[in-house]
């Protein structure tokens, strides 16, 4: 059995996700970045998804840079962690451009249905626990 999971975010929602990522201290800016406000966000490329983001931190520092697909995945994972939405650590995570926004896809293969393996200890699928993040695809 396999599982396909897709979270869809509109461009406005993506802006919120990226803003949260930046505010959380992404890129080692955490000490000065209590809040990040995005002024502008464009797609630098659609496949792979790459964003060009410009904005400003709470201390007035301006920031313009590219946000790659891995970082967008990190933004989704951060959102899931804050929302206590469990996500599978071992899933293949990708970002794709869709109409009006992006989709965060997670694919888990080889979920076992063998009744002999019906215990969480033997499960091949481990989930990110509260307080733990996985920021890589």
């Amino acid at each position: 059995m396999f599982e396909v999971r897709r979270m869809r975010a509109t461009d406005e929602e993506l802006q919120g996700l990226v803003g949260r990522l930046m505010s959380s201290g992404f890129g080692g800016l955490g000490d000065e970045a209590s809040k990040f406000t995005i002024f502008d966000m464009n797609y630098a490329s659609e496949s792979p998804v790459k964003l060009k983001v410009s904005g400003q931190f709470a201390n007035g520092k301006q920031y313009t840079d590219h946000i790659a697909a891995d970082q967008i995945i990190a933004a989704f994972i951060l959102f899931c962690e804050e929302g206590r939405i469990p996500i599978c650590r071992e899933s293949e995570k990708t970002i794709v451009r869709i109409t009006g926004g992006v989709a965060f896809d997670m694919v888990i293969r080889n979920l076992s249905i063998d009744p002999a393996k019906q215990t969480p200890e033997q499960s091949e699928c481990t989930f990110v626990h509260e307080g733990c993040t996985e920021n890589t695809a």
């Binding site: 396909v4 919120g16 929302g83 939405i85 469990p86 979920l111 249905i113 019906q118 499960s123």
Partner: protein, 143 residues
């Protein structure tokens, strides 16, 4: 934000899921350890998905039953509960026939993205063991 989640099971895997469902039903009636074996399984209808299953209990009692979409959803939910796979209590859950088996779809709408997002602001409850949610929403198709 919207989350769409699909678990696909082949017909063979579906048989195992139904066996697990039957075993859990037996357990709930205090007869633990009774294995259930499916001898035949056919699709009565594909929309909505309905199966006719014949089989045997561990003590050789034959059984013949029709598995409705709600029961199929329960089978998937029991599988997830057994595997420790969290599923959203509030998701709209449906089953649909796919080429080589059945797909279990879960849709969660209106996941909030707030700048001050915290665990307290996002109402996203997950299903504790032993609970099922058999709401259905027809007409869902994943890309």
């Amino acid at each position: 934000m919207i989350e769409v989640r699909r678990m696909r099971a082949t017909d063979t895997e579906l048989k195992s899921l139904i066996c697990n469902l039957m075993a859990s039903e037996e357990n709930s009636h205090g007869s633990a350890g009774q294995a259930f074996k499916i001898t035949d399984m056919n699709y009565v209808s594909t929309k909505p998905v309905k199966l006719h299953v014949t089989g045997q209990h561990g003590d050789d009692r034959p059984i013949s039953l029709t598995v409705t979409p709600d029961l199929l959803i329960a089978a998937f939910v029991i599988f997830c509960t057994g595997q420790g796979i969290p599923i959203s209590r509030q998701s709209v859950k449906t089953v649909a026939k796919v080429r080589d088996g059945v797909a279990f779809d879960m849709v969660v709408r209106n996941l909030a993205i707030s700048e001050t997002a915290s665990a307290h602001h996002i109402r996203y409850a997950f299903l504790p063991a032993g609970h099922t949610d058999t709401q259905t929403m027809m007409g869902l198709h994943l890309k």
